[in-house]
């Protein structure tokens, strides 16, 4: 949901809940680069909450813009094309024969419906929407390549892998920053910059690549600043039904273990259910045998696959949209299993974090291909372990690194610009990750620099195709399509108005490891995201405003006291002041973590 108003700082309010100043009704706000395709009059919006609304529908290459003057205050509905999953004809009773109905099934938990008269519209509405909602299926560019806005900061500069590894203290004597994948020759879904052990030859690495699914070899994601224990990610080993071995792979894991002097063990976390891992052996995949890898402990985290997650979110939509299942709210939520999966993910990530922090042991994380559940787990564990990732900037780095650069298949999972809505590759894995982050922000309200609006904005632009950030499946594809030069980064927009996305409670808990409670009583459904289209779900009182006011008041008082103190001091220099008041300059939200 994006509204295209300029706010007073001349920055577009491209986010959910943005303040929209009223336009003239016949004037459709346009983004730089956006063009109107057609305007259809006498369209009815079939509002699930308050009935029919009559108005005008403007279709651009970026959005559907419905406006109405019927009610005393003008009504505007703004749906970006990227969020549309599929178009469906519906029947509209009692509106005459020439009236057609259209339902826009969206990726963000809603399905707005419209009714329009065919005789009055010269163009085929469905045709036009379809072209721009699914540009790739019509040989058209994604809107991100047409969007021509200017931002004071460049979000593409947020993530520099070498700088990030340097921040972690890399390279060091055991780990090196390798150029082996600089042309994506070793692994086409991995980033060009990889951190691998110093003690291994390129030749051995190539052999390991052959033994790992999609050539996704074990590489370092994060290193503990004290114990030197590491999080290493990869894909499943290609063990197959005959229990194949790979000497080099075994040696690589041994070297990874040895790089950490604090522990003589290595723990492998396989995100899958053990039964699934076994089935994968028949399909030439599999898991590490503890007898071939000495001192390695294998743990299965029992997280179901992408298809299960897709189905879970689909059920969730039924519970919250358009009407909320009131009679059996708790059991309806339970039957989606969504919270159960959130729990599995958080619990798995907490196990990984604990293994590093308390066990001082390095871990290897993989699932099947190492780009879905693996990204979820490594990024959540890193969020728990490293306070840097809990800042606005650090979180962007985390997403760029563990998700975007390591080849989470955003294009396939979200289905950007593609009309094939039934594609089984689609799955809300990134939504699930952001939900987990939200759960953590609920339990540690002062530990994260960003607020809920930030998380919702990220998810909105996961779908919108306005920014290049989440486009394509891998770094290589993005290089080929020149994403960094031809599109704008989401972080350009966000970092140009950081205040909007900042948590007023934030205190930097450096060196604090946050373990969220994963008991079922401590996880909640994120209704302000999933059920946000329902007007009844809106919070009754804007608490955030009160918080800001309190903090503002304190800052203002502090300023005045200081001012007066200075004045007093200057006046009383002769008399000699006996009095030097000191004040706490701010209260840290106390925590025990």
């Amino acid at each position: 949901m994006v509204s295209k108003r300029l706010n007073p700082r001349n920055l577009p309010a491209l986010r959910y809940g943005a303040q929209v100043k009223m336009y003239q009704v016949n004037q459709v706000p346009l983004l730089p680069g956006e063009t109107i395709q057609t305007t259809v009059k006498d369209v009815m919006y079939v509002c699930p909450f308050s009935g029919l609304v009559n108005g005008t529908l403007t279709i651009t290459d970026y959005k559907l813009y419905f406006s109405s003057v019927e009610k005393e205050s003008p009504f505007i509905l703004d749906i970006n094309m990227g969020v549309i999953s599929r178009l469906e004809s519906i029947s509209v009773p009692n509106q005459g024969e020439n009236t057609k109905g259209l339902e826009l099934v969206c990726k963000d938990m809603r399905s707005p419906r419209f009714a329009y008269k065919t005789e009055e519209s010269q163009v085929d509405v469905v045709e036009v929407i379809s072209r721009h909602a699914f540009p790739l299926s019509h040989n058209l560019p994604l809107f991100a390549f047409l969007y021509k806005d200017q931002f004071p900061v460049d979000g593409w500069k947020v993530y520099d892998p070498t700088a990030e590894y340097r921040r972690q203290g890399l390279p060091n004597e055991s780990w090196t920053i390798s150029k082996i994948n600089s042309t994506y020759e070793l692994c086409d879904t991995y980033p060009s910059v990889l951190v691998i052990p110093t003690n291994i030859t390129d030749e051995d690495i190539r052999r390991v690549a052959v033994f790992r699914a999609k050539h996704r070899i074990p590489v370092l994601s994060w290193i503990h600043p004290e114990s030197q224990a590491t999080i290493v990610r990869c894909s499943q080993p290609l063990v197959g039904p005959s229990d194949r071995r790979c000497k080099e792979d075994e040696r690589l894991l041994q070297i990874i273990m040895d790089a950490n002097a604090q522990s003589h063990k290595l723990t492998i976390f396989d995100a899958r259910q053990s039964s699934v891992a076994v089935t994968n052996k028949a399909k030439d995949g599999g898991y590490e045998s503890e007898s071939f890898y000495p001192n390695v402990e294998l743990n299965f985290l029992d997280i179901p696959n992408i298809h299960v997650m897709r189905e879970s979110l689909r059920k969730m939509k039924e519970v919250v949209y358009p009407t909320i299942n009131e009679a059996h709210w708790h059991s309806a939520i339970d039957q989606t299993h969504w919270l159960e999966y959130i729990r599995l993910l958080l619990a798995g990530a907490a196990k990984i974090a604990d293994k590093l922090e308390s066990g001082k042991t390095s871990v290897v994380v993989h699932c099947s291909d190492g780009w879905d559940r693996t990204s979820q787990l490594t990024s959540l564990a890193m969020l728990m372990l490293d306070s840097y990732y809990r800042t606005l900037r650090g979180f962007q780095v985390l997403v760029e690194k563990e998700w975007i650069s390591f080849g989470h298949k955003f294009s396939a999972r979200v289905g950007h610009g593609d009309e094939n809505h039934a594609n089984s590759e689609r799955s809300p894995l990134f939504v699930q990750f952001i939900d987990c982050v939200w759960q953590m922000t609920r339990q540690f309200p002062a530990a994260f620099e960003f607020n809920e609006l930030f998380l919702i904005t990220v998810l909105d632009h996961l779908y919108s195709c306005l920014f290049g950030t989440f486009l394509y499946n891998s770094e290589q594809e993005r290089v080929v399509h020149e994403v960094q030069t031809k599109t704008i980064s989401l972080w350009s927009y966000i970092n140009s108005q950081l205040e909007e996305f900042t948590n007023p409670f934030y205190v930097d808990y450096e060196n604090h490891v946050l373990y969220p409670l994963v008991s079922s009583r401590h996880l909640e459904l994120w209704t302000s995201f999933y059920a946000r289209w329902n007007p009844r779900m809106r919070p009754q009182v804007p608490v955030h405003q009160t918080l800001k006011e309190l903090l503002f008041l304190r800052a203002e008082l502090q300023r005045r006291v200081e001012e007066l103190q200075r004045e007093t001091t200057s006046h009383s220099l002769s008399s000699g002041s006996e009095h030097s008041p000191t004040h706490p300059t701010g209260t840290a939200l106390h925590t025990t973590v």
């Binding site: 505007i76 708790h330 502090q558 939200l589």
Partner: protein, 642 residues
């Protein structure tokens, strides 16, 4: 507290295996049994942490079969804590168990803690403590007596109804004969009296018990009584009679010669059933929710199904719905409401007090909640001793009726985080004092019984004590300045708006390290701001003294957003026709207040006009949080701050 009054029993080398709040490692120490408390003192010389459990808080003692390491004893408390100790010798365990079983079930009031509890205060202070909550003052605050509602002497010396207070307000037109006649036609003689008077609309909330109508009985005086209630609200031509029971239950009562008002006999009443279940259903439902709270690492399904199957949140919703119905009738329609259930001391107390909480911001303050509990519960004969098992008695009389009211307040405070002066801790503190018997406030079943026990001479009131501790009970988000204008709360009572009250029911996980609390953070910020303000004044004075020139600052103004109708659209999923989410009937164009505004000067005694004008000022002055402009602020400037 020093360990005094130690009696007979003391066992050493006891292991405290689990205390629902506190550390998780078992600690070794000594267990004492005093006349009033079970006390565990840690051996660790550094901490010597003490755990005190009043015997009156113990709801059950259980002894597990002995094991080689000793015998386990489980103490279940009425505040849902569970304490588990391991006693080395089985004999000791048997003794302790036997003593506790007896001590936790006192048979006479004289055995209760409050009658031996002796805080360090003299006689005058004790008497003052009882005067802390002044119900007469509260009635004056709401504007009675006036020319509509008057005091009646009918129940002096509890002649007409022994479970009612002696001071009562009735419609001016109700003669003593009507009162007495009506009381004969009502269960336990609990005739219709005033609970809350709403000055803005002149509508009233009244309470009584069910009529003894059977299938066809009628009573002229009772009919006149209801007519009088209606007449005390000039301009309205009917009243609502809210029967808080499920209709089936009410009908079943007719067979026993009780029942509900026949709309053919009473002119101008509208009967409404709400469907709050009886005390037995509530008792077993609470047990289920306590079990959900105590489950150890439940699966998501265990938890969500447990929550739903307990029915607890559904019952809380029913009670809140009753309050919402009454508040709407009184505030929006300007229609008086007569509330009853069977005896009029459980569900009726719940419905009336929730309605007051919704209608009047005063009851959302710390002192106001004390007044409200004192009025609708203590004075109107809610049977505290029976419901909360202060004395060994019929277990079927026990039920968490007031627990549910406190939970309604908590659920409301979750929906309206800025509307309540008190926080969750205050509600939990009140909850534990209802059971603890440390103070005399909640003892006995009605005013008469308390008088006969001479509790005011032998025990203390809890309210001044809680008032003294109010700094820890204050909600930092509370908007003092806005509160009077916040008017009527309009909560959303859809099932998904109700949550498990973890603070009360989930003690097992309290042993986890406490999470970050923004509320505590804010309290500190508020405290600091206050200190800074004082500092500012000091500095000003110093400077004035130095320079001889007084300086004046304008008050610090916090820039506030102006609320726009379109900002609620969030990009516009729906037309703004829905008024959900508008919590408060603000003056800014909200027209949902349909009640005709009456001219107060015509109907109220003169001395009340001051209050009244104050009220109307507030009505028209301020909107909700977001729509308020800063004091002296300039709208254009504010827009820039957004």
């Amino acid at each position: 507290m020093p360990i005094r009054n130690k009696i007979g029993e003391m066992v050493e080398n006891v292991r405290l295996l689990e205390r629902s709040c506190g550390q998780r490692k078992p600690s070794v120490g000594t267990l004492y049994l005093s006349a009033t408390h079970t006390i565990f003192v840690e051996n660790n010389p550094e901490t010597r942490k003490e755990t005190w459990v009043p015997h009156s808080m113990v709801s059950g003692v259980e002894r597990l079969p002995p094991s080689p390491t000793g015998s386990q004893l489980i103490l279940r408390c009425k505040d849902f804590r569970v304490i588990l100790v391991l006693i080395p010798q089985e004999r000791d365990c048997v003794d302790i168990h036997a003593s506790l079983a007896r001590l936790s079930r006192p048979e006479k009031y004289s055995e209760l803690y409050c009658l031996s509890f002796n805080p360090n205060v003299n006689k005058e202070q004790r008497e003052e403590s009882w005067a802390f909550v002044d119900l007469a003052a509260d009635y004056r605050r709401m504007g009675v007596p006036n020319n509509l509602w008057v005091t009646t002497a009918a129940n002096s010396e509890y002649r007409v109804c022994d479970t009612y207070p002696s001071e009562l307000f009735v419609p001016k037109s109700a003669t003593p004969a009507v009162i007495v006649g009506s009381s004969r036609f009502r269960s336990r003689g609990r005739f219709p009296v005033l609970s809350y008077f709403h000055q803005d609309t002149l509508a009233a909330v009244c309470r009584c018990s069910q009529p003894l109508s059977g299938f066809s009985g009628r009573c002229q005086e009772d009919e006149m009584m209801l007519q009088a209630v209606m007449k005390s609200n000039p301009g309205s031509d009917y009243i609502y009679v809210v029967d808080t029971r499920p209709k089936l239950n009410a009908m079943a009562n007719r067979a026993a010669g009780k029942g509900y008002e026949n709309e053919d006999h009473y002119t101008n009443i509208k009967l409404q059933f709400i469907g709050i279940e009886n005390i037995h259903v509530m008792r077993s439902s609470q047990q289920k929710i306590v079990d959900v709270g105590e489950m150890r690492s439940p699966s998501m399904t265990d938890f969500l199904f447990g929550l739903e199957n307990s029915g607890w949140l559904k019952h809380i919703k029913a009670i809140l719905d009753a309050g919402v119905f009454i508040a709407r009738a009184v505030a929006d329609e300007g229609i008086s409401v007569l509330v009853h259930c069977s005896d009029g001391w459980d569900r009726t107390a719940q419905a009336c007090s929730v309605a007051s909480l919704l209608l009047d911001p005063y009851y959302r303050t710390i002192r106001g909640l004390m007044v409200l509990i004192e009025r609708d519960w203590v004075s109107f004969g809610h049977k505290f001793s029976h419901r909360y098992a202060h004395l060994d008695g019929d277990p079927k009389e026990v039920s968490p009726v007031l627990d549910q009211f406190l939970e309604c307040a908590w659920q409301l405070s979750e929906q309206f985080p800025c509307a309540f002066e008190f926080n969750e801790r205050f509600l939990i503190a009140v909850h534990s004092h209802i059971y603890s018997c440390q103070y005399g406030t909640f003892l006995g079943n009605c005013e008469k019984e308390r008088r006969d026990l001479r509790l005011r001479e032998h025990s203390h009131s809890v309210w001044p004590q809680l008032w003294k501790e109010r700094s820890q009970f204050t909600n930092p988000l509370y908007q003092t300045d806005l509160s009077p204008s916040q008017g009527v709360l309009r909560p959303n009572t859809s099932p998904y708006c109700f949550k498990l009250w973890k603070g009360l029911y989930n003690h097992t996980e309290k042993s986890m390290p406490p999470r970050q609390s923004p509320a505590d953070f804010l309290s500190t910020v508020r405290e600091e701001s206050k200190q800074l303000e004082e500092e500012l004044t000091n500095q000003q004075e110093r400077l004035t003294a130095l320079t001889g020139k007084p300086i004046t600052w304008e008050k610090v103004a916090v820039p506030r957003r102006r609320r726009r109708t379109d900002c609620q659209k969030h990009g516009g999923p729906d037309p703004p026709a829905t008024t959900h989410g508008r919590l408060i009937s603000g003056p800014d164009g909200q027209t949902d207040r349909k009640a005709p505004r009456k001219d107060p000067a015509l109907t109220l005694p003169l001395r009340d006009t001051d209050d009244f004008s104050a009220c109307s000022d507030l009505e028209s002055g301020v909107a909700d949080l977001s729509s308020r402009s800063s004091s002296g602020g300039d709208d254009n400037k504010e827009a820039e701050l957004e």
